[in-house]
């Protein structure tokens, strides 16, 4: 696909599409990669390279469909990156200590914003493979079996990661975890 040659009118349309969606996709990619700007930048570029390969059909999509296609592609590319980086075991994310919580005007929102901020910190502290599993399970709605296949790890490993992340997110949610009373603190 990437060996294809891009006609001039496609190139112009792709440039416009990039200008419109790249910033939003970069933000999304950063959130997925926990603030790895360089990797997020690569993911955005790679998504548009993929779009260039499919542009003969993509150019006819309406804007929301096109954006969804690009987001899905960024997500899939992120999984591929998770897998590669997970196998290498390094490339720890730069922890961004001071990311401001979103402004909140009601008390309930403020509480949940604080809880979410704590969750985000917990997510940033996850080991890479646990982060990959959590994103795939809760953001991409994949089953444990699908996750195991994509990351090329055992089902049992996925289940272990899921339960480990559960424990950390529960702790981060603290009093705002509705399941707190049902489950005792595990591990």
């Amino acid at each position: 696909v990437s060996g294809e040659r891009i006609p001039k009118d496609y190139a112009e349309e792709l440039g416009d599409c990039f200008a419109a969606y790249a910033p939003g996709l970069f933000g999304y990619a950063c959130a997925l990669t926990r603030g790895d700007h360089a990797l997020a930048d690569d993911l955005v570029q790679a998504a548009f390279v993929a779009a260039a390969g499919h542009w003969s059909t993509m150019r006819y999509l309406r804007d929301p469909q096109r954006l969804r296609w690009l987001q899905t592609t960024v997500g899939n590319l992120a999984i591929t990156a998770f897998r590669r980086n997970g196998a290498l075991g390094d490339r720890l994310p730069q922890l961004e200590a001071a990311s401001r919580p979103a402004p909140a005007d009601t008390h309930a929102d403020a509480v949940s914003a604080i809880a979410l901020q704590r969750c985000w910190q917990a997510i940033q502290a996850l080991p890479p493979q646990q982060h990959a599993v959590a994103v795939m399970r809760w953001l991409f709605a994949m089953t444990n079996t699908e996750i195991a296949a994509r990351l090329d790890i055992a089902d049992g490993t996925v289940a272990a990661h899921v339960s480990a992340v559960r424990g950390k997110l529960r702790a981060a949610l603290g009093p705002y975890d509705p399941f707190r009373s049902e489950d005792g603190p595990s591990s």
Binding site: A19, A31, W120
Partner: protein, 235 residues
């Protein structure tokens, strides 16, 4: 509560975590988005697009190839039409440049050749239109014609036919030059002249019969400085 799958608490908790992840990604994405260097990203992507651009690269290659294959036949065509080699050279070069420039609109090499021919013919027409003095310079003798329709080619080789060719109406001369000196099939002649095949046929036929009668007349009239192996005809 009794959804399919794992433990029910897990399933409801999954919903909570999904919502947590979605909200976190939403707020974090908005913050990171503001930090994006959009112009650097666009420049990087634009560079990639340029590295993978179809038209320009293909234009260079294809036009170079067209040039090596078709420069001489097109020059011959233009020379026959404008009867002046330097002008013909300019016309052909100009046509190649126009083809290169218009490449992105042209598609493939076959279209490009048809376009080239049409460009040459059009430019020859406008040169002839602007030429007020009819025919001051003697025409160059064109090189070897391609091997089709030998009877006609033999006819066209005769000096009398060559001379009469210049006297033909413009369209008849174009049709004959394209058809026989450039050796094009009728449909390509039609494309180059932007007329129908039927019109090509009739221009060609009329032009040829005019040439034939010119040759016959030349043969009947007393020979000027005789050229071939005819014996002195005075008894």
């Amino acid at each position: 509560m009794m959804t399919a799958g794992n433990d029910t608490a897990g399933t409801r908790e999954d919903e909570l975590f999904t919502s947590v992840y979605q909200q976190i990604v939403g707020t974090q994405a908005a913050q990171y988005e503001a930090a994006y260097d959009a112009s650097a990203g666009l420049e990087r992507f634009t560079n990639w697009l340029q590295d993978h651009a179809a038209p320009e690269l293909a234009a260079d290659q294809v036009v170079a190839e067209l040039y090596s294959l078709h420069y001489r036949p097109l020059l011959r065509l233009a020379t026959l039409l404008v009867r002046d080699l330097p002008t013909a050279e300019n016309i052909v070069l100009d046509a190649f440049i126009a083809t290169h420039r218009g490449w992105s609109r042209l598609g493939d090499a076959d279209d490009a050749l048809a376009y080239l021919r049409q460009a040459v013919v059009n430019r020859c027409r406008s040169v002839l239109r602007h030429r007020t003095v009819a025919d001051t310079n003697p025409h160059e003798s064109p090189p070897e014609p391609p091997g089709i329709d030998h009877a006609v080619l033999d006819l066209l080789q005769l000096p009398a036919a060559r001379a009469a060719l210049d006297g033909l109406p413009r369209r008849q001369r174009e049709a004959i030059v394209l058809r026989y000196y450039s050796g094009l099939p009728e449909d390509q002649v039609a494309a180059a002249m932007r007329i129908s095949r039927g019109a090509v046929k009739s221009h060609t036929a009329r032009g040829l019969s005019a040439l034939r009668s010119a040759v016959e007349q030349a043969a009947l009239s007393p020979a000027p400085p005789e050229d071939s192996g005819h014996e002195p005809s005075d008894p």
